[in-house]
Symmetry: C2
Subunit: 133 residues, 2 copies
DNA sequence: CTAAAACCTGACATTGACGTCAGAGGCAAG
DNA sequence: CTTGCCTCTGACGTCAATGTCAGGTTTTAG
C-alpha cells in the first residue's frame, strides 16, 4: 500500500511516516516511480511505534528494537535493552502514580474548603513534593 | 535567598528558575539592586513544580494551580482543573502500564528464544498494538 | 490524453523546557 | 578601590516529533 493509505489506516500523518523512515523505524520499498510501498505488516508496526512513543521512548530507543519486530533475529543485547526500557517505563509509572496521589490529597483539601467555608488551610508540607532524589 | 542558592538546594538550574518566573510559576521579590530574592517556601514550590513537570504537565497547566500553593484562596474552578489534570495523569498511567505489559510479553518471547535455540518465533499479533481507538 | 489526486524532496516553522553566550551591573572581602 | 563571584537582561541554540509550504513528478480516473 502507499503512504496515504497507511496514514489513514493508522491515524498517523503522512509526514510522520516519512519521519519514521528517516529514523529508520520503517524501511518501505519503492515503486518504479519512486513512491513508497508498504506491506500489510507496516500497519501493526506503525501502531507499535506509536505505542512506544506514547510511552515516552525517543526514536533512538525504538530503532534498535525494530529489527525484532521486522525479522526474527535475536541480537545479543536485545533482551538487555528491552529490559532497560521496561525499567524506565516502570520508573515513570511510579513517578506518575506518586504525582497523581499528591494531586488527590490536594483535591481533597481544596474540595473540603470549597464545600464549607471559603478559606483554605495552608498546605501541610505533605502536599508538597519530597523528592527521594 | 538568591537564585544560585535556590538552584543548588533544588537541583534545578538557574536558567530554569528564571524560566519558571517567566511562566509565572514563581514571583520572587527583587533586592534594591534588582536581584531576585526567594523565601524559604520557594524550595518546596520548586520541587512541586518539578514534580508536576515530570508528570508531563505543561507550565500552562501548572500556572493556574500555583495560587493555591502560594496563598490560600480557593478559585471557583480550581477543583475542576485539578480533577481534570488528575484524569489526564491517570490516562497516561494507563498508557504506560499497557506499554510496559506489551514490552513484557515481547521480552518473554525473546528471552525464551535466546535461552534455547537461536531462531525467534514470529510475533503473534498480540505483541503488536491493538489500539482500542 | 488530460486533469485531478496523491506523492516526491527539501527546507523552514513550531512547541516546551531549558542551555549557552554576550555584555553589563551588584556585592562582599581584602 | 579592586578583585572575583554572583546576578542581570536579551537573544539565539537545541532536541523531538511533527506541521507546513513550495515546486515538481507519478499515478489514477475519466
Amino acid at each position: 500500500m502507499r503512504i496515504g493509505e497507511l496514514a489513514a489506516r493508522t491515524g498517523v500523518s503522512v509526514r510522520a511516516l516519512r519521519y519514521y523512515e528517516e529514523q529508520r523505524l520503517l524501511s518501505p520499498e519503492r515503486s518504479p516511480g519512486g513512491q513508497r510501498t508498504y506491506p500489510e505488516s507496516a500497519v501493526d508496526q506503525v501502531l507499535m511505534i506509536q505505542h512506544l512513543f506514547t510511552a515516552g521512548l525517543p526514536s533512538r530507543s525504538i530503532e534498535p528494537l525494530m529489527p525484532y519486530v521486522r525479522s526474527r533475529e535475536v541480537a545479543p543485547e536485545l533482551v538487555e535493552r528491552l529490559t532497560a526500557e521496561r525499567e524506565r517505563i516502570d520508573g515513570r509509572i511510579g513517578d506518575l502514580v506518586r504525582t497523581r496521589d499528591k494531586l488527590d490529597s490536594i483535591i481533597a483539601v481544596v474540595a473540603a474548603a470549597a464545600h464549607e467555608g471559603r478559606p483554605c488551610p495552608r498546605p501541610e508540607g505533605d502536599l508538597v513534593a519530597h523528592h527521594p532524589r
